[in-house]
Structure formats: structure tokens, C-alpha cells
Symmetry: D2
Subunit: 292 residues, 4 copies
């Protein structure tokens, strides 16, 4: 397996999309030295966005967590999270009543929109659900798995309402050797039990990439045969992630070149087997996004 140097790869693109967990940070915090990567991006006039399957907080809180660790380059408007898609869905499609949720209070706070109240499943009274007009699965924390998942199943048997899964990840690493079950896997169990079709937001789905792409200045108008100087097209955008199933598949499908980094979910000794067995093929493979 041939490894490429991230700097050399990135030099050929105008815009970089980064996954967050496993790329910029891990269970211990920011990757040591990550600042130099963002310094290089700014010195070389590269635009960048962070695309993350994270609905635990809003972009403002997510950005603050980078700032607290000394990385100031990542501002709220540079963060595109699956929680934002869930929020837009509720804003457009659910106009009144209450939205039940599984997750933390802060995750619910962010998705609250004009005319919508949120209610944690833990506080839900199954005999008073006539005005529950949606259910949102936000985070694996903030509820009792046994009691509240049973309540969730019963809610969905009584009320035929849209169910939004705001984070499609199945697991996430909590240490060098251990992982935890993410809400995406819980969602698949509930969906299988109730037999209904949930609405999922997050990579590999195209919408998260579209959200970021729409923020770019000077995007070449579709249909224009020969882009003019300064125009940005999908050919100018590079997606960087640590997970084949979400980051790389999604980036490829959206039409972007992709970089798989080995600083997160995918380990060096497994990468070739995984690429062959899944058929998900990154354009490049790099050790990490760190620039020495």
C-alpha cells in the first residue's frame, strides 16, 4: 500500500472538507500539531469545512470546543453537522406540537425551532402523546437505554410520526482499544423492531456535502461548459476522512476526490482488506493530516 503525503495531495485542491473525529481529534482531544495543518491551509489560501456526523451540540458549541483546546481556525460557519440537517428538516416539515428525542439536553436545545417544543423520552407520558409530531434520535447519552428505548418503541406503535436519525454512526472510539455503541446503531434496532422507515441525516448521504458545497463562493454554475478563472467545481474539492463507509463513500458519491487517513477508525494493517472487501476506494491514503 502506497501512502501519500497529505500536504502534497492537498496542494492540488482549492477546498478541503474534513471529517472531525479520527481526523482532527480523537478520544484524547485534538491531534497534537494539528494547528500547523490549519496554518498551512490559510497560508496557501485553501478554504476548508468540517463535515461531522454529530448532533450532540450546535455549530457554536462545537467550534468553542476547538477554541478551548487552542484551535481557533474552526469557526461555527465552517462546521456542517448532521444536527443542522435534522434542524432544517424540523423547521421545514414539523410546524407545531412537541418533538420527542433521545439524547442530551444540549443536543435538544439546538434543534428547537420556532413553534416546536422538545421533550426527552424520559419525561414522555405514553398516555399523553397526541401532540408528539416527530421523534429525533440525537445522541447515545442522556437517557436510560432500557426504560427509554422501550418507551420509544411504544410511542412509535401508537403514533405514526416521522423519525429523524441525526447521527448515522454505529460506533465511536472511546480509547485506544475500546469503542462505544453510537445512536445510529440503536436507531437500526428500533427501526427493525417497529418496521418503519426512519429519515437519516449524515455521511455518506449527499445532503451534508451539499450543505458545505453551497457555502463555497464562486461555485461554477451547473451546465457551464468551461469554468472561468476563479470558479470552483467539485474537481477542486477534497474530502478527508477516517471511515470508508461514511466519509469516503459519501465523498466519492458526491463526486469528490477522497483521502483516507489512518489516524482513526481505519488501521494500517486492515486498510487493504477493508478496501477490497467493501469496494469503497479512496483516491489517496495518508497517514494523517498532520504536516511536519
Amino acid at each position: 500500500m502506497q501512502l501519500d503525503d497529505f500536504r502534497e495531495v492537498a496542494a492540488n485542491y482549492k477546498v478541503i472538507f474534513f471529517d472531525a473525529f479520527g481526523v482532527l481529534k480523537n478520544y484524547e482531544g485534538l491531534l497534537p500539531g494539528i494547528e500547523s495543518t490549519f496554518n498551512w491551509l490559510q497560508e496557501n489560501g485553501k478554504e476548508f469545512y468540517v463535515l461531522t456526523n454529530d448532533a450532540s451540540r450546535g455549530p457554536k458549541e462545537l467550534a468553542e470546543s476547538y477554541h478551548r483546546q487552542g484551535l481557533y481556525a474552526i469557526t461555527p460557519e465552517r462546521i456542517i453537522s448532521s444536527g443542522m440537517l435534522a434542524r432544517e428538516y424540523l423547521d421545514l416539515k414539523v410546524n407545531h406540537g412537541r418533538v420527542a428525542y433521545l439524547g442530551t439536553e444540549s443536543s435538544a436545545h439546538y434543534i428547537e425551532t420556532a413553534g416546536l417544543k422538545t421533550l426527552p423520552i424520559s419525561q414522555l407520558d405514553l398516555s399523553d402523546i397526541a401532540d408528539i409530531n416527530a421523534l429525533v434520535l440525537l445522541d447515545d447519552e442522556g437517557f436510560d437505554w432500557n426504560t427509554d428505548l422501550n418507551k420509544t418503541v411504544n410511542l412509535l406503535r401508537k403514533r405514526n410520526i416521522p423519525v429523524i436519525v441525526a447521527n448515522t454512526d454505529e460506533t465511536y472510539p472511546v480509547s485506544k482499544t475500546r469503542i462505544a455503541i453510537a445512536i445510529g446503531a440503536v436507531a437500526e434496532m428500533i427501526e427493525m423492531i417497529v418496521g418503519k422507515q426512519f429519515i437519516r441525516f449524515g455521511k455518506p448521504d449527499a445532503q451534508l456535502f451539499m450543505f458545505a458545497y453551497e457555502r463555497l463562493e464562486n461555485v461554477v454554475p451547473r451546465g457551464l461548459e468551461t469554468p472561468e478563472d476563479g470558479h470552483i467545481s467539485k474537481r477542486d474539492v477534497l474530502m478527508v476522512g477516517d471511515t470508508l463507509r461514511t466519509d469516503i463513500l459519501g465523498g466519492n458519491k458526491f463526486g469528490l476526490d477522497t483521502v483516507l487517513v489512518l489516524s482513526g477508525n481505519t488501521q494500517a494493517q486492515d486498510v487493504e482488506v477493508q478496501i477490497r472487501s467493501t469496494g469503497i476506494i479512496p483516491t489517496y491514503i495518508c497517514e494523517s493530516v498532520l504536516i511536519s
Copy 2:
């Protein structure tokens, strides 16, 4: 939909296999008047067995729960449970070390076999698992779903061991209007996360039916063209259950005639849609097994 009278149907068979939950009992206890059914069976010389996807206790404890409610016809040797299959598997295939489990202490006590110690996942130390040689999923109670399911996933990433699912049910009713998630659904989530093939015991699988069939006296030898008087063949056995996906599918596949009763999971207003949509077709449909 034409309903048949259970007594008239049962009169044509020598042996009756009963599912337990939703057929003989429900969330409130025994079906009122169920004794008369068993009196009728005995007066008419019908043999019977109870085939249940239940690994929460052994046959002795299961029988006692019937006796405590005043039904003495159901003796331990008339009960075939999926827990018995799990126990046989461990006895034949796992000869030493410890067996980790999810479930109650009493469920684990039953599956303990010569040379095997059991260990609840809650007490498992992930740094001391070298002698964990199997994992058994027994019951949805007796553990903390969040903590212990995460430990289970990490155990299975470190140790490549057989995983036995001793109850394939996805849900069970806890009241007239509510259900609870059963260990079978939890098993499917874990299996999906770790990507391994678990070993499932319970209806609709043939093994539970075989266990019961082997107990019958005078079974006609396979290959014998014309059964002699008194011989029992699969044509003489009737399977009765409340669930298409387990009782009826399993009974049909094993070659038995089947009765769907409407006293449990399947409700009268849904039965025709469910039979058409699943393609699982019972030989008869009865209100219940009660005999007036």
C-alpha cells in the same frame, strides 16, 4: 376470515405442541379457564408439549410457575425451551473456561454445565478475558443496557468466540397495549455492529421442534412406507401458536399442521393482512385454545 373451533381441530391429532406466551398465558398470568383445555387433552388421550422461546429459567422453574397458578398438567418433561438448546450446545461444544452472559442469575444458573463457570457481563473485566470461551444472550433483564452492551461489543472485538442467542424473540407484550424489547432484538443490534454470525436457538428453527418430537413414544421409523397402528408421524402433531414468524413458520417448515390463535401477538383485525404480507400460512385459525 373463517375461525375454527380449537376442540374440533385438536380432535384430529394425537399430539399438540403449544407455544406458551400468548397461548397458555399472557402478561396477566394464565388464560382464565385454560385448565379445561388440559383436562380435555387428558380425557381424550392427547399428548402435549410446550415449546417456548424462553431462556430465563430451566424447565423445572418454568413448570413450577404453572403449578403456582394452579395448572399441574404441565410438568418439567413436557416443557421444551430454547434455553435447553443453548445448554446442550455449551455442553457439547464448550468444554472449559468461562461463559459470559447477558441475563438474570437464574437464567445463567440453568445453563451452567460440568466444567463451565458463568460470568455476568456486568462483572466482566475486559482486561481479563483470556478464558472467556463463549457468550450467551439469555434475557433482557439482569444487566445495564448501556454499560453492559458496550462491554459486550468490546469483548467480541477482542475474543473470537461463539455467541449463542437463547431467545430469538424481538419483543414481548407487557400489558394490553405495550410491548418490551426482547434479547433477540438486542442480539441483532450487536451482531450488526460486530459483523459476526451468532448462533440462534428457538422457533422458527427446527431444533426446538426436533427436541419435542424426539420425546414422543412410538414415532414411526423414517422410511417405513405404511405406519402401523399406534405409530405417530408428523401428520399426527399439531403446532399451536400466536406468532406467525416463529410458531407458525417453524411448525410449517417442520412439516406439522399449524393453528394460529388470536389470544396473543396477532390480533383479529390484522391477521389477514399479516398472512398475506408475510406469506406465512397457518392451517387453521382459532380464537384461542380455550374450550368452553
Copy 3:
């Protein structure tokens, strides 16, 4: 079930997205009287697009088929097909070599892009595949299912290349009472056999809706709090389709209001059961898009 009048519903929106098959036409051709619907749209200044899971031909050929039947309102630039997404993917991601395909010659002709040759699987020589850099599943016609599906499986075992499914439909109606297997179902079988992750284009995926949405003039810039006069937002767009799993799920997820029509896949007597069992809920239900 309460049926709405299509004209009254459509009057509240500025833009209408139509599915084609089952909405504008069926196995017998155009819906009789469909012209009046498009006359009404034009008289009332409604913009419209046709979003179709069809990769059998390009937009030009698709438009001509409407013109041949006397419907001239549907011009090529008003048609967004899943084949266009497949074409864009190949244009962006596959720069050289040959693209093997399952489908008709005309379907392949359309997806040919600069620097790419296409090759039907029927003409593929399994001993000469070093330059096959992608496989595209376009249509269920134009190949021998037995011979060529076996060749496809063997190609994918030897070459780890992206596989594009340009039509996600599982079946399509061929008469009032019969359906045929579509390439989407064939794709699922091949994917299951080779165990790889294919790239699917078509409803319910967001990309097809994106393609259409980008064509709209005067779309309100994202982030703008209060749209100005004449601005178009997702609130102004109505998606009309005959299939819950593709048209309605996709429209809902993209944030649009949706109309389920009963002139195609979904029949009046099944609609309530299907909505309840799938949890896919249209905003409105109309008999058809016909305007008397």
C-alpha cells in the same frame, strides 16, 4: 382517508416536481388529459421539473417520447434523471479506461463521457479486464440475465472498481395487473453476492432533488433570515409521486411538501395500511394530477 384536489393543493406552491411513471404516464402511455394539467401550470406561472429514476435514455430522448405523444411542455432541461447523476459521477470520478455496463445501447450511449468507452457485459472478455475502471447498472433490458449476471459477478471478484446503480427501482408495472423486475433489484442481488457497497443514484436519495433545485431561478440564499419577494425556498416546492419509498420519502427528507397520487404503484385500498406500516407520510393524497 381524505383525498385532496390536486389543483387546490398545487395552487399554494411556486414549483412542482413530478415523478414520471405512475404520475404523468403509465404502461399504456400518457395519462389521458394530462395536457390540461400542464396548461394550468403554465397559465398560473408554476415552474415544474420531472424527477425520474430512469437511466435508459438521456433527457433529450426522454423529452422526445413525451413530444411524440403530443405533450410538448416537457423539454429536456425540465427532466432530471438518475442517469444524469451516473453520468456526472463518471465524468468526475472515472477519467480513463472502459466502463462495463448492464443495459441497452442507448442507455450506455448517454453516459459515455470524454475519455471513456463503454462496453456491454455481453461483449466483455473476462481475460481482458485490466482497463475496466467502473461498472454501471443502467437498465434491465439489453442483456442475457443468466450469462451476463454471472459474468458481472466474476468481473467484480477480479476487479475492485466502483459500481454505479443508475436506477434504484426494484420493479415497474407492465400492465394493469403485472410488474417486471427492475435493475435496482438485480443490483441488490449482485451486491449481496459480492459483498461490496454499490453507489446508488435516484430517489429517495437527495442528489436527484438537488439537481432539480439547483436549476430554479431566484432560490433564496441559505442563511438569509427573511426571504425577499420572488425568492424561492423549499417551502415553495411540491413533490408529486406515486411511490412512498422513493418519491415521498425522498421529498420529505429533502424538506419538501409531498403529494401521493393513486394513479400508479400505490392503490387506494392499500394506501392507509402502507403509510402506517412504513411510517412514510405524504403531506397530501390526490387521486391523480389530472385537472378536470
Copy 4:
């Protein structure tokens, strides 16, 4: 990976169950030298049976194909095929009318039972199906995949009848480097399209093992604490196969020790990855069953 010598392993068991394809024979015919294995079995008083997912012919024809190649040890009564299970099912559960099938004439001939006529889907008239009381999927040959699979889907939409899959294999090797799609994979596609639950016969299901186990003489009666001399228990039976998903999983689940051989589907370089990724663990691994 440590390889065991088949003779040394087999010496510890009284009965050997063999898979056929990939173990005793391959796409070129019998494994050269296989006779010596069966000579050794007979000299050492080992009983044996062949358990095969094959519904293309009856045991008599299957045995003859061994005899034609000079292997006379395998008599019809030593062959247990998934076709035999399908035949028993039809005999017990379908008493009249016609059984439609996908497969060859010889495969259909074998499953014909008293009172049942078989009809190839190719000859089925969709307007005359009132007496079609079952559908059996027997073999991937003998029909036109496109025409007849479409007819099959339409038959199952009009008639709610049991569907029997008499061979669960997804693929089979046709040369050193190529495979073909087996009827088991076709069955999964049809099942997914019509959304019904088919009845599958074959490994890893317990029933095929039951059929063979019942043929053994002197099986220890269940419940007997201490087997007497000469009694045979599951501990005395060894299952040998080349496929983890069918032979090894099925043998393990039935409670048998298992041998994975590398002469068929599973290749030496993949075996460790496959065992780790599937969690299906054979008791032993041998190069082949050949005895030098």
C-alpha cells in the same frame, strides 16, 4: 494457522458427515485419490454420510454420478440432500394441486409426490393458477432468468402460497477462477421483491443434520446420563465441509465437531481473516480429506 492431518482427526470419531462439493469433488470431478479416503473409512469401521445442498437430482441419481466416476462407496442411502427435505415438506404439507418450480426437469421429477403434479414456471399460464399450491426453487438451470423470474414474481403477487427454497447456496465454483450464481441468491432477490418469508432447506439449517443423524444406528437415547458401550452420541460425529457459512456453522450449531477443508470455497490465504470476521470457528482445519 495450524493445519491438522485429516486421518488423525477422523480417527477420533465414529461417524463422518461430508459436504460434497469442494470436499469430495469439484468442478473437474472427484478429487483424485478420494477412493483411498473411503477405503480407510471402511477399514476402520467409520460410518459416513454425504450432506449436500443439492436439489438438482434425487439421491439415486446423485449416487450414480459417483459410481460413474469409480467411487462405489457412496450409495443412495448415504446421501442426504436438501432436495429430500423439500420433498418431505411437499409430501406432508401440500396434498393436492400443482407445484410450480424453477429448475431442471430431473430436479422436479424427484420432488413429485403422490397427488402432486409439477409445472415448470416456463410453462405456467398466469391466467390459470388457481390450483398452484406451492412454488419450489430447485436449481439455477432449466429456465430463462429474465422471462421466468418475472413470471415468478407475478405468480407470488396473485397466489399466497408457500415458497420452498431447496438449495440455500448463493454461488458455486465452475472453474478454478470463476463462480456462478446459485438458486439460493436468486431466491433472496425474489423474496426481497415480494416481501414474503420463504421456507429454506439446507445447511446451515439443523434439519439436514437431523435427517442424517436419525439414520445412525444405536444413537444414545436423549436423557440417558451415561451412554453404554456402542452408543453413538453427537460427540462421536464429525462434520467436514469447505464453507464456513453452511457446513461449519451448521455443524457447530447442531453440536458437532467440525473440520474446514481448503479444497473448495475457502482458500488458505483467506481462512484466518474469514474465521475472524465471521466468528464461525471450525474445530479443525485440514488441507483436504485426502489420505496419502
